[in-house]
């Protein structure tokens, strides 16, 4: 896979030198072979260094990268069996959120996630991962399904946001998301939510209320896209990198703020460098968290889930006794 991201230019240069030398094939001199080995080591080292120090805006680009593994890439690699469930039973089957009943490491689960689409045809079919009300209502149907059969729910979050269209307003996109928040809060089965790429605002949260909320190392989770925040607060969307910095959208920052519970490591150079390794990392995290959650009674689980969200933000509140705001 080529180094295609803007900030990967130095890596792309090294890669180019390697491939130029390798083009000589059998005709490579011993010193050239040594040079290739050296360059490969340098490439590995510099990839590691670069990815260890990504800025928030660079992480946004990694999280949105067109080669980043999507929900179906994870499903294919994590699940021994996957039976897709389609449609919201009200209006349509929204391909922007896909899911079904699946088996992961011997555990039957209900698994769903946003699907952005790989090629243009799939992207159009999936509306680039921007779900309509039907996507959230299909998710709701799957939540109920999971509760009925005592199956844990796994959600994979990867969306720019819910689709802001006229039909979406007519069919109640606000209501669809709001209802999911309420139902997920009280669903009597464990829920694990994983931000695998872009956690874009309400469209992400609409399948994002759980006992555990995890983030991949290079995923981002935002209240509004940095471009949108920049255009509102900076009055110029060219300030998106500043907004990305100021809004604290990366996994380590959100772990610190208590918004997420843990970070799932990615292969060096990002999840797109090695789908298999990324999927194994996610699968291991799911099985680890499930083992923990299964120990709790349903009532304890729900209390824990309530408290988990109940305390978010409390650290940002001070009490001024006497209401002395004058």
């Amino acid at each position: 896979m080529a180094y295609d991201l803007d900030f990967e230019r130095p890596l792309a240069d090294i890669e180019k030198r390697i491939s130029q030398l390798q083009k000589r094939g059998e005709r490579m001199r011993p010193d050239e072979r040594a040079q290739v080995a050296e360059l490969q080591q340098e490439l590995a080292r510099r990839t590691k260094e670069l990815y260890a120090a990504l800025t928030p805006w660079q992480r946004v680009q990694v999280a949105r990268f067109r080669d980043r593994p999507y929900t179906n890439d994870y499903i294919k690699r994590m699940c021994d069996e996957y039976f897709e469930l389609r449609g919201d039973r009200r209006f349509a089957d929204d391909r922007a959120i896909q899911g079904g009943v699946a088996s992961i490491g011997g555990q039957t689960v209900v698994l769903m996630g946003h699907q952005k689409g790989r090629d243009l045809k799939e992207r159009e079919e999936c509306n680039f991962g921007m779900a309509h009300p039907e996507g959230y209502r299909k998710a709701l149907r799957l939540f109920r399904y999971a509760e009925r059969f005592h199956l844990p729910v796994i959600t994979l979050i990867d969306t720019t946001g819910a689709y802001p269209g006229l039909g979406d307003e007519e069919r109640g996109i606000s209501q669809a998301i709001a209802e999911n928040l309420l139902v997920m809060a009280g669903l009597r089965t464990p829920i694990i939510c994983i931000v695998i790429g872009e956690g874009g605002s309400g469209g992400a949260l609409g399948i994002g209320v759980g006992d555990k909320v995890l983030m991949l190392e290079n995923a981002v989770y935002t209240v509004a896209a940095p471009e949108a925040a920049a255009s509102i607060i900076w009055r110029d969307n060219a300030f998106a990198p500043d907004a990305a910095q100021a809004m604290k959208i990366t996994a380590p920052e959100l772990l610190e703020l208590g918004v997420v519970d843990s970070i799932i490591p990615e292969p060096v150079g990002g999840a797109h460098r090695d789908y298999q390794a990324a999927a194994e990392s996610v699968k291991a995290a799911i099985l680890r968290e499930l083992a923990d959650l299964k120990r709790l009674s349903t009532d304890a689980l729900l209390d824990h889930r309530y408290q988990r969200f109940r305390v978010i933000g409390l650290q940002g509140i001070t009490e001024v006794v006497g209401a002395a705001q004058k």
Binding site: Y163, P164, G165, L166, D168, E169, R171, G172, I173, S174, Q175, I177, A178, E179, L181, L182, V183, A185, G186, G199, S201, G202, L205, G206, G208, V209, Y221, T222, V223, A224, A229, I233, W234, F239, D242, A243, A246, M247, K248, I249, L254, L257, V259, R305, Y306, F309, R310, I312, G313, L314, Q315, G316, I317, T318, E319, V320, V321, A323, Q325, K326
Partner: protein, 294 residues
């Protein structure tokens, strides 16, 4: 039906508000221009008409203290959590200035500590928990303090088995508190799940504007949802939708009338009638015979 005397926009007794909040919100404007029909309205008449344009019926926004005075029985309001303030959890700084400074200036401007006022009160003698958002405070946006105060109001309603009324007036989640703000949508909705389980009535009153993170969480979770005429209500702003869809939209998109037509709310109440409308509903739910609960 008992006809209550015309509610008036007098200052509600809120612990958390400057006594002169309303006076400031209503500078001694002799006249106001209606943004909808451009009619020049005599300030006195306009106030007497509850800040509704006499010509076209446009409902101007109300501050939280004004709204509380309009809805509740006089002197029945007892505010709580008024002393909560945001401590700027992200240390947010933009080119235009810091969030910390913004909070100070918004507090000075509005006399409020944040964008919602919560408390217990009564409507025609029926006790309820009330939360009223105030658009003047950073667009009524929801950050940690708004989320916490709403949650406390919901929990109080559940604990006292008193009906809950939330009056929304907000553009959405507060960007300056980032993902923490987004999580307040989950926090308030989780509290509402418990309220629903307890079988306590929640009435959501949508006023101008109720959009984005507010509409996609507690505002659209009411057992009964009412709106003021003409209020902007929806997930996305009409301009965003137009840009996304590359098409001009019909004029009424994302108004109270639009969401009523599409089955998303139960009714539209003129400001003059909203108190009486709430009273009718609350009365139906207080007393009267119901089936014996489990």
């Amino acid at each position: 039906m008992k006809d209550e005397s015309q509610p008036a926009l007098t200052v509600a007794q809120t612990n958390g508000a400057h006594p002169d909040t309303v006076a400031r919100a209503l500078p001694d404007n002799l006249a106001v221009k209606c943004p909808n029909c451009r009619e020049l309205l005599l300030g006195k008449d306009w106030e007497k008409n509850l800040k509704v344009c006499q010509k076209c019926g446009h409902h101007f926004r109300l501050s939280a203290p004004e709204r509380i005075a309009l809805l509740l029985d006089p002197d029945s309001f007892s505010e709580f959590a008024s002393d909560l303030r945001s401590s700027d959890p992200l240390g947010f700084v933009a080119r235009s200035g810091s969030y910390a400074d913004k909070l100070v200036s918004e507090r000075e401007k509005t006399g409020l500590n944040d964008a919602v006022v919560v408390g217990m009160g009564s409507i025609e003698g029926i006790r309820l928990a009330l939360a009223v958002m105030d658009f003047r405070f950073i667009g009524g946006s929801m950050g940690s303090v708004v989320g916490e105060k709403l949650t406390q109001a919901i929990e109080r309603a559940a604990a006292e088995r008193a009906p809950l009324v939330i009056v929304s007036a907000s553009g959405g989640a507060r960007q300056q508190e980032g993902t923490i703000s987004l999580m307040q949508m989950a926090k308030t909705s989780a509290a509402l799940a418990r309220l629903a389980e307890a079988g306590v009535l929640y009435v959501s009153l949508l006023t101008d504007p109720t959009t984005a993170g507010i509409s996609a969480s507690f505002a659209f979770l009411g057992d009964v949802i009412l709106a003021e005429p003409g209020a902007l209500i929806g997930f996305a702003g009409p301009r965003v939708i137009e840009q996304m869809m590359h098409q001009r939209l019909p004029k009424d998109v994302n108004t109270a009338e639009f969401v009523l037509k599409h089955g998303m709310i139960d009714g539209i109440a003129h400001r003059r009638e909203v108190r009486a409308t709430l009273a009718r509903l609350l009365r139906l739910h207080s007393g009267g015979e119901t089936l014996a609960g489990a």
